[in-house]
């Protein structure tokens, strides 16, 4: 097996293995490490923001640097931390849950990762080359079109490249789920995580093009002298806002839906019950995805769209509370009367319910257009979206990582340390963000780098900062847990949680062809169906035979590297046309690699029956 070979040949071979891998499980590792790294950077930026706001009139960081901090905190957390961590889970779990040996397009899977990584690196290089983007993560025109320096150019190029990677990933998972389900796995037998990933991928497919278009317009305005957003020359700055939010609102559902799916699997596994209201949950997931496209303008109530448009979008927004409510109740009914085991994964999941519900409640408050005129651009909004994103997405990521860690790495994260990380993070989270609702109602605006003395904002901000430190402590304990587990913990079996879905029917970590024989799915929670009939594993749907697998390739890395180089050329050709050389070099590398890919047949390789039998003797695929 390639992993074992790589370990024998040392570090260089392992790095080469990861640079060229098209194995979804290794790509999941790459996404996890890169996303985790950016999560820490985004967290560091958050800490600096909170230290600046610790006391009135603080001068810890300058106003300009503060603008860069808030911009990069938001951009990093959404695009470079949450998205890749979700993709890590999708890659690690979805092919296993549907009984597939890899995703539909393994080459594109790798390309998607490297595009995301190089886009993220471009964005963060800006710190060292004279200033990061500073127009907010929403990058509204005309603030962004007139922002001096190259910060916003980095934003445009970085997001364009990483956005292409995300779009590729989304299409890949759509095709995978439509085409590669094991025999017997109908749509209504798919685990809820897979369902959520399916809907999420559709949202990615439809939402990201709006961002791509917006970013291209922005790129031409800033780098090539067009005036799409320049009102004085007949353009319209509002177009950016619409394009950004046509993408941006589905984006928040792209973030939360996969974790809704993960919570569903976790609740059902640790309550030892099948998910309550499975079909209602599927329906609610699809409905949220559908409605998610009709509500974007609720971010723009104060733009002046007029009362009719505001009312339509207000009503549509409130409607989303209905499917979300269905989900919340179904999770509670899943636990009701179940044989509940309070593992760390379950702890994060249970804590998610009230936290997210508070965020949903303030969401309905914000959806009331008339009231929104009061809340708009205050800390009330900051409190709201951190309740849904941290209370939903981050809690979900921690829960899902605890749950699927043994499947990814073969070891269970230490439960004691897991719970020890939970409490400071949970308490810190509520300390940080609950008080921010009240700061907002008292009139504290978003994005200001200082607040004044004697306006009653001191205590609230200090509490908020203390909470942020507690969250940092929780995160550090989680990292300690990761290291401790990888050093100290023992390997576990393929099914440490007494799981219900297909991924738990194979060893941990799975062999790189996942399933020695494709399993036959006979119902919802397929492994549980077999277990309840006294069988140990899945019934195979095919005889033991040769397995066809794709070959590793360095081309995705080179394609992305080319775009990375060309990105710098685009950014700096404004100053000096000599920089266009980088564009030609980079695009040459990208297009050359694509040409190589097109002309050179790469038919993959076979794993022969004899090798599989040898693996089986060693205990794989029981």
């Amino acid at each position: 097996m390639s992993t074992a070979l790589a370990q024998n040949r040392g570090l260089g071979a392992m790095i080469w293995d990861y640079l060229t891998t098209v194995d979804h499980k290794k790509i999941a590792h790459l996404y996890l490490v890169a996303g985790g790294f950016f999560f820490l950077i985004g967290g560091l930026e958050a800490m600096l923001i909170r230290i600046q706001l610790m006391k009135p009139d603080n001068d810890f960081i300058s106003a300009g640097l503060y603008n860069e901090m808030i911009t990069m905190h938001g951009t990093t957390m959404i695009f470079l931390a949450a998205m890749p961590l979700i993709f890590a889970l999708m890659n690690a779990v979805v092919p296993l849950q549907i009984g597939a040996r890899d995703v539909a397009f393994p080459f594109l899977n790798s390309l998607g990762f490297w595009l995301f990584l190089f886009g993220g690196v471009i964005l963060n290089v800006s710190w060292f080359t004279g200033g990061a983007p500073d127009a907010g993560w929403t990058n509204y025109a005309p603030l962004s079109t007139v922002s001096p320096g190259h910060g916003v150019d980095y934003y445009v190029m970085g997001l364009q490249i990483s956005g292409a990677g995300t779009l590729i990933g989304g299409i890949n998972f759509l095709v995978t789920i439509v085409n590669m389900r094991a025999p017997g796995m109908t749509y209504m037998r798919m685990p809820l995580f897979t369902w959520a990933v399916f809907v999420t991928s559709a949202l990615i497919l439809f939402a990201f093009p709006a961002l791509t278009v917006g970013l291209f317009l922005m790129m031409f305005d800033r780098m090539f002298g067009s005036v799409f957003f320049d009102t004085a020359a007949g353009g319209n700055a509002i177009i950016w806002e619409h394009l950004f939010w046509i993408f941006g609102h589905p984006e928040v559902y792209i973030l939360i839906l996969p974790l809704f799916g993960a919570f569903s699997d976790i609740f059902s596994t640790f309550s030892k019950k099948r998910l309550f209201g499975y079909s209602a949950m599927v329906f609610a997931t699809v409905l949220i995805g559908f409605l998610g496209f009709m509500v974007w303008a609720h971010h723009m109530f104060t733009v002046g769209m007029g009362p009719i448009a505001n009312s339509i979008f207000a009503v549509a927004t409130m409607a989303i509370a209905v499917p979300t409510g269905i989900k919340i109740f179904n999770w509670m009914f899943t636990m009701w009367g179940g044989n509940i085991k309070m593992t760390a994964a379950m702890l994060w999941s249970v804590a998610f319910i009230p936290s997210f519900t508070i965020g949903g409640m303030t969401g309905v408050m914000l959806a009331a257009a008339a009231a929104d005129y009061q809340y708009h651009d205050t800390y009330f909004v900051v409190g709201h979206f951190h309740y849904v994103i941290v209370g939903g997405v981050v809690f979900g990521l921690f829960a899902a990582l605890h749950y699927w860690w043994p499947k990814m790495f073969g070891k269970v994260l230490n439960e004691k340390l897991g719970k020890l990380a939970f409490w400071p993070f949970f308490i810190g989270f509520h300390l940080t963000f609950f008080i921010q609702h009240f700061l907002g109602l008292m009139g504290m605006p978003r994005r200001y780098w200082v607040f004044l003395e004697g306006q009653g904002l001191e205590a609230g901000n200090l509490i908020s900062t203390i909470g942020a430190f507690l969250m940092a402590i929780g995160t550090v304990i989680f990292l300690v847990n990761v290291v401790y587990t990888s050093v100290k913990a023992k390997k576990v079996s393929g099914d440490p949680w007494d799981g219900r879905t297909l991924e738990w029917s194979i060893p941990s970590p799975p062999p790189h062809y996942n399933f020695t024989q494709t399993p036959l799915v006979r119902g919802l929670d397929p492994l549980w169906v077999e277990k309840s009939e006294g069988k140990k594993g899945m019934t195979p749907a095919e005889p033991l035979g040769d397995i066809h697998m794709p070959n590793a390739s360095i081309l995705p890395f080179l394609i992305s590297l080319g775009l990375f180089i060309a990105g710098f050329g685009f950014i700096y050709q404004v100053d000096n046309k000599a920089w266009l050389i980088l564009v030609f070099l980079g695009m040459g590398l990208t297009l050359g690699s694509m040409l190589t890919r097109s002309l050179k047949d790469d038919l993959g390789h076979h794993i022969h029956k004899e090798e599989l039998e040898k693996d089986l003797e060693k205990g794989a695929g029981e």
């Binding site: 559709a202 439809f206 177009i239 619409h242 046509i246 009709m294 303008a297």
Partner: protein
């Protein structure tokens, strides 16, 4: 079609019939599409007022796209549900965007 009681001859017969039917539909839709194209060009050549012309052209275009998708790209056949869902989903999002831009921004 996988009926076990069918003999190979019966099956071949059935498939031949099926193909003939398919061919007929394709020829009809192809002829109609050419006719529509002539009508479209003819209307422009005859200088018909744009109030009538533009909606009619759009209607003919939509019908041609549907012919293309359903008859030539086989969306009328079984197993194309997911394709239809995805296409109409994307179409809904795109149309919503266009409606918003025309009514809210540019009106």
């Amino acid at each position: 079609m996988n009926n076990q009681s069918q003999t190979p001859q019966q099956k071949a017969e059935f498939e031949r019939k099926q193909h003939k039917e398919e061919m007929k539909q394709q020829v009809i839709s192809f002829a109609l599409m050419i006719l529509f194209t002539f009508i479209a060009f003819g209307m422009v050549l005859l200088d018909i007022g744009s109030v009538f012309l533009v909606p009619t052209l759009l209607l003919l275009a939509v019908v041609q796209v549907l012919f293309q998708l359903y008859y030539f790209m086989h969306m009328k056949n079984k197993g194309h549900d997911m394709v239809a869902v995805m296409m109409y989903g994307g179409l809904a999002v795109a149309i919503l965007t266009i409606i918003t831009f025309t009514t809210i921004i540019w009106w």
